[in-house]
């Protein structure tokens, strides 16, 4: 067993591009679900509109990177308004239904043959990140013990974790303010908040926009990190993994989604590497190497179930607080 290699890869992934993307997606969900109590099951849609907004601006419109970023952000705001205006006055479950459907509609739209000239169909859009990498100050990759990052990945990761840090700072500032107090109160009981003279609809809309925009930052990193946008990267499993990340780390905690993302990707790669080696050296004979990819999800799913049973509040959550929910 080459534990050094397994650990090195696990740590690399735990701090890598995917962890950044899921951290940002989950920070957005934390604003929606963890603090405001909004059930957004279409977070993938927010990442998708940002990633496609960026790629289309650069490749199709031939405009610079920053214009793409602005367009991606505007698209995320527009999506939040589109989802929120009809549903936020209704019961909570309507938002859940509408968001999950909207995210799928976006994926099928960018995938469609008719719009192939703009969105590239099922192949997506590729090779548009040159400008992004031209800003990189790094002239070599990183080799720190077992952690290895290519020159490009290093730049993506540095930008990514900076965005994560800034997002956490924003969430922290917001949630300790009177604005955050209203938001958390809405999670507890909307009608009580209304009876105290607060425009609940307006606050929910603001939360939906903020969480969507934070999630969309993950979309930008997804796009430049892989130098490619593909419709099927933004399927519903992205949203559900982001929820897993959030609940693992602790919903309603500023650092919950960040810790959740790191632990999630570390564990996934660690299980993967360990299983693969055990199969290769003949210790495990009942699965083949090509089945490891599936089995690691079973094990991760099982671990999440156990976590929910023994630590339902997540790693950073407060069990006392959770117990109060029952009234």
């Amino acid at each position: 067993m080459d534990w050094g290699n397994i650990l090195g890869q696990s740590i690399t992934q735990g701090l890598g591009v995917l962890a950044v993307i899921y951290a940002l997606a989950a920070i957005g969900l934390n604003v929606h679900f963890g603090y405001t109590g909004l059930l957004n099951f279409g977070q993938a849609g927010f990442l998708a509109v940002a990633a496609y907004g960026l790629a289309v601006t650069i490749v199709v419109l031939e405009l610079p990177l920053f214009v793409g970023v602005v367009i991606g952000l505007l698209a995320a705001v527009a999506l939040a308004l589109l989802l929120g205006i009809p549903t936020l006055r209704l019961r909570a479950d309507y938002l859940a239904i509408v968001t999950i459907a909207a995210a799928e509609i976006i994926r099928l739209l960018v995938r469609s043959v008719t719009l192939r000239d703009i969105f590239g169909g099922s192949d997506g859009i590729n090779a548009f990140a040159n400008e992004f990498f031209s800003y990189s100050p790094f002239s070599a990759g990183l080799e720190l013990g077992p952690v290895r990052l290519s020159q490009n990945d290093l730049w993506v990761v540095v930008v990514g974790w900076t965005l994560v840090a800034l997002s956490c700072l924003l969430v922290w500032l917001l949630m300790r303010s009177p604005w955050g107090r209203v938001i958390k109160a809405i999670r507890e009981d909307e009608d009580a908040v209304r009876s105290l003279g607060k425009n609940v609809y307006f606050y929910k809309m603001q939360a939906l926009i903020i969480g969507g925009v934070l999630g969309s930052l993950g979309g930008f990193i997804f796009a430049v990190g892989f130098q490619s946008v593909q419709p099927d990267s933004y399927a519903t499993d992205l949203t559900f993994f982001a929820y897993a990340v959030l609940i693992l780390g602790g919903a309603g905690r500023v650092m919950g989604p960040v810790l959740g993302a790191v632990v999630f990707w570390f564990l996934l790669v660690f299980i993967d590497g360990t299983l693969a080696q055990l199969v290769q050296n003949g210790t495990i004979t009942f699965i083949r190497t090509d089945q490891v990819g599936q089995v690691r999800y079973w094990i991760l799913g099982l671990s999440l179930m156990l976590l929910m049973i023994y630590r339902p509040q997540g790693i950073l959550g407060d069990k006392k607080e959770l117990a109060l929910d029952a009234r």
């Binding site: 009177p178 209203v182 507890e188 009608d191 908040v193 009876s195 607060k198 425009n199 607080e321 009234r327």
Partner: protein, 321 residues
């Protein structure tokens, strides 16, 4: 400037003293109560009767749920500065009427005004901002928030509740301090000061009722609407809760409350409105209303166990210190 500070302190002292003795007696009587009773003395005892100085006027309010007419109030007025009890058997439409007046539900017909402002079609939060706040029959404490945060939420016009201002604490910190000071004052009055840092969800049912009421008072309302404030409250707390409600009248607020216990109604209210099957069936001062045959009928129809005719002074109300 030290002079200003001294003057401000003195002002604060006077204000505190006033607040403390707001309900002190003039010739052994509560001033607010006397004013309300005098104002209502000449008002005829009949359903929908006009009041000399109404703060709330409702006209032709109808709410149907499918075939059921839950509320059908032809006319109702609430006298400013009074404590008015809204009574009636279960299912009479009291809670629905509350919901309609406060914008939590929309009537099929009718209009109503508060302080002369038409409220028809106004969202619940706007009604609250206009100075008419309510509590709920099923208490709505914000469980996973601290008691002090529950209280602070009640304050009006908070700068820090605006998104962009929220991220710059310098903009709202001062106001926040004064809000907390006010909250601490109310918590002390409602004997919840020791619970300040506890989660609201850890309070007892009665304490939650107190918290909900204290929280509503954070906005300095003109009118407070309490839906069964005494329900589920430990009898030891009932007396102080009654004291607090009487205090609101002494501070110039108008109170409309739903209550089933006739002894409570008799001891604190200046006027009673009786609802039955959605309609106002009787109005008047407590004693007159309770001997009204229409009221007894309405109650005996639904409530055989309630001894309304028992007019003996079974409860002697003692004022809070």
């Amino acid at each position: 400037m030290p002079d200003d500070d001294a003057a401000a302190l003195e002002q604060a002292d006077i204000a505190e003293e006033r607040a403390q003795f707001a309900h002190t007696t003039i010739a052994g009587e509560l001033l607010g109560r006397r004013k309300a009773v005098e104002a209502l003395a000449d008002v005829p005892h009949e359903p929908g009767v006009p009041k000399p100085d109404p703060i709330l006027v409702a006209d032709g309010i109808v709410r149907r749920f499918g075939g059921l007419v839950a509320v059908d109030v032809a006319h109702a007025e609430i006298q400013r500065g009074s404590i008015t009890a809204l009574v009636g058997p279960n299912g009479a439409g009291k809670t629905t009427f509350f919901n309609l007046l406060t914008g939590f539900d929309q009537p099929n017909e009718g209009k109503w005004s508060f302080n002369g402002i038409e409220l028809k079609g106004k969202a619940a939060y706007k009604v609250a901002r206009l100075g008419m706040v309510r509590t709920f029959q099923l208490t709505k404490a914000l469980s996973r928030m601290k008691v002090i945060d529950n209280m602070a939420l009640g304050a009006k016009d908070q700068k820090g509740e605006h998104f962009w201002a929220a991220v710059i604490p310098g903009i709202w910190r001062r106001q926040e301090q004064s809000i907390e000071a006010k909250a601490d004052g109310l918590l002390a009055r409602f004997k919840l000061d020791t619970k300040r840092e506890d989660f609201a969800g850890s309070l007892s049912g009665g304490q939650r009722k107190l918290l909900e009421m204290a929280r509503a008072l954070m906005s300095d309302p003109d009118m407070v609407m309490l839906d069964e404030p005494m329900a589920g409250v430990n009898p030891a707390l009932t007396q102080s809760l009654l004291g607090h409600i009487m205090d609101l009248r002494e501070q110039g607020m108008t109170v409309l409350f739903v209550e089933h216990d006739m002894d409570v109604v008799r001891s604190i209210s200046d006027w009673v409105i009786v609802m039955g099957q959605g309609k106002v069936i009787a109005e008047g001062p407590p004693d007159a209303v309770m001997s009204n045959p229409a009221v007894i009928d309405a109650y005996l129809g639904a409530h055989h166990d309630k001894a309304l005719t028992d007019t003996g002074e079974s409860l002697s109300f003692t004022e809070p210190e």
